[in-house]
């Protein structure tokens, strides 16, 4: 018997949700590398997944998911180690929907229902799209610009980490209270981070408010942080990307400095729990 449930992919626009889904689908469908989950059977409607996978295979940008049009992947998976079966629904929701939660304080009812019963969250953060708060220096006093130059506050000006904490706060308040909510944080485009660091250390340094929020709420949530390069490198260097032995093996997934390939590892954390190392 299979466990059925939803995995919610959450993230601001351009944070890498669809690219991850395309690469994940390819790894499951093509079975080119060993993965902790295998696809037991294909889902009936594979048009959307195959379309984004095609772009991923041909090193093209995957267009942003249009707002209001929700595509969903239904994956019938078997966990190799435990033989447990899962039917996972992974809706690909436009990042604008998550942004509008912060801006407009409105969210679709369908999303609330998904949250209530989900296994957990995949929270995407693009490593190059982190807007941080920059404090003005108080060296001088008074306003040195005319009122016309002053910018009124609006929510879109808020730092990325504030918007992400707001998303998680709402998800936590909606989630079934009986369970601890599992969250896999996926820092996408990890290959673009040149300094030697781990995903957890990067999050603590770049998004300290989010990092504190996660560590402060361990009674209600459990989290693991991954660095992911679903493309495997820079799209402008297609020759280098194409030089890997198989498309699946150009993927990089980091928990520590060790480079892994298996994109089903975050799903394992959300469904089965933490791996014993």
């Amino acid at each position: 018997m299979s466990s059925e449930g939803t995995i919610v992919m959450m993230g601001l626009p351009g944070s890498g949700k669809s690219t991850f889904l395309a690469a994940l689908w390819h790894q499951l469908e093509a079975a080119e590398i060993p993965t902790v989950f295998v696809a037991e059977q294909l889902q009936p409607d594979r048009e959307y997944l195959n379309k984004i996978r095609e772009k991923w295979l041909e090193f093209e940008e995957i267009p942003r998911t249009p707002i209001g049009i929700e595509r969903s992947a239904l994956l019938h998976l078997r966990h190799v180690r435990t033989e447990a079966k899962f039917d996972l629904s992974i809706p690909d929701v436009a990042g604008e929907m998550f942004a509008s939660q912060w801006y407009a304080r409105l969210i679709p009812q369908g999303y609330v229902r998904q949250l209530e019963t989900s296994f957990g969250l995949l929270l995407f953060v693009h490593c190059r799209q982190v807007a941080q708060a920059q404090r003005l220096s108080a060296g001088t006093s008074g306003l040195a610009v005319s009122p016309t130059q002053a910018v009124e506050w609006e929510p879109r000006l808020s730092p990325t980490q504030v918007q992400l904490v707001d998303l998680l706060q709402f998800a936590l308040s909606t989630f079934e209270r009986r369970r601890v909510m599992r969250i896999a944080i996926l820092i996408s485009a990890w290959d673009e981070i040149k300094e030697r660091t781990t995903p957890a250390a990067w999050l603590e340094q770049k998004l300290p408010l989010l990092d504190q929020f996660l560590r402060a709420n361990t009674e209600e949530l459990s989290f693991q942080i991954f660095g992911v390069s679903a493309i495997g490198g820079n799209l402008s260097d297609k020759e280098a990307l194409a030089s890997t032995s198989s498309p699946s093996s150009r993927v990089r997934l980091h928990v520590t400095s060790e480079a892994l390939r298996d994109l089903t590892l975050p799903l394992e954390f959300l469904t089965v729990g933490e791996r014993e190392s």
């Binding site: 409105l106 920059q134 003005l136 560590r215 402060a216």
Partner: protein, 304 residues
């Protein structure tokens, strides 16, 4: 934080702006909560303290405490905006809190992980125009921070303008303002049992060592001597939330203030016993029942 259904297939979620006095239960029902009144005249630096605290959390843990969330993220973002590059200003500013916004509170949830199991609590801090405290000084039944709100406070922070105290022409007015606010609150029976007092001298970077610093010390001693007996405890803090010189770092004194805000004596009730209970002539049994069950009762009723 429960969403409200709309007719368009969307649900509306709370605004995240500062909470009105009648909305505090959204926080108090969930966490052990200390209600804090930041009391002081216009321009003494009350809002700037809140800005500095939130901006520090944006950079990392504060005073060893982790940021555990806030029901008023948008409210904090709004007051921080004039101090950020995105405002288009070239120097930080603080928007005066308007009287029309009434009694509003900002919320921060913190978790202490320093030894033992994590301990989470919340603070609700007033962000109210200084006029409210001028009113409380001048009349026995204030209308902005009303009597029930005063009676709900676990901590009253009297904010003294350090810049004013460094000027010989203003320092006695600053001291007299604080003293008469405390006297008025005491005589009008606005101060609840088990309430703590914090004396906060702001703009500490502008208080020159010597004469001005001595005046601050003398003022603190005077206020402690006169009013300590009305409170469970008294602490003194010197703060430069947004210093204009390099003499002290940004948010100087704020981490220690936060630890004071959350360091309630846990043997005492989180929120003062309502007047209605104390004054109603209930017998000792009822009193003991209230002491034992107040936390669960306060989760159900918004008792003030």
């Amino acid at each position: 934080m429960a969403p409200e259904s709309t007719t368009t297939g969307f649900v509306a979620i709370p605004s995240g702006e500062a909470l009105a006095a009648d909305a505090l239960r959204t926080v108090t029902a969930r966490d052990e909560t200390t209600v804090i009144l930041l009391a002081g005249p216009i321009g003494c630096g009350k809002t700037t303290i809140l800005i500095a605290l939130y901006e520090l959390f944006n950079e990392g843990p504060v005073g060893g405490l982790l940021f555990g969330g806030s029901a008023t993220l948008a409210g904090f973002e709004r007051i921080c905006h004039p101090g950020r590059v995105t405002s288009g200003l070239s120097a930080p500013d603080t928007v005066r809190t308007s009287r029309s916004s009434g009694a509003a509170f900002l919320h921060i949830r913190v978790t202490d992980t320093s030894g033992g199991p994590p301990r989470t609590s919340s603070v609700l801090v007033s962000d109210v125009t200084g006029e409210a405290f001028v009113e409380a000084r001048d009349v026995s039944e204030p209308t902005i921070i009303t009597r029930p709100l005063w009676r709900r406070a676990g901590l009253i922070c009297v904010v003294l303008d350090g810049e004013g105290m460094s000027l010989t022409t203003k320092r006695h007015s600053v001291r007299a303002g604080a003293r008469s606010l405390l006297r008025s609150a005491h005589e009008s029976n606005l101060i609840p049992h088990n309430c703590r007092l914090a004396l906060i001298t702001t703009k500490w970077d502008l208080v020159k060592p010597g004469d001005a610093e001595d005046f601050v010390t003398e003022t603190e001693s005077l206020l402690v001597k006169q009013y300590a007996s009305s409170f469970e405890s008294v602490s003194c803090h010197r703060i430069a939330a947004r210093p204009t010189s390099n003499r002290v770092p940004y948010a100087y004194g704020v981490p220690r203030l936060l630890t004071e805000w959350v360091s309630r004596d846990r043997s005492k009730p989180a929120i003062a016993m309502p007047d209605t209970v104390k004054d109603s002539g209930l017998n000792d049994f009822a009193r003991a029942f209230w002491q034992r069950e107040q936390n669960s009762l306060l989760r159900v009723f918004d008792v003030v």
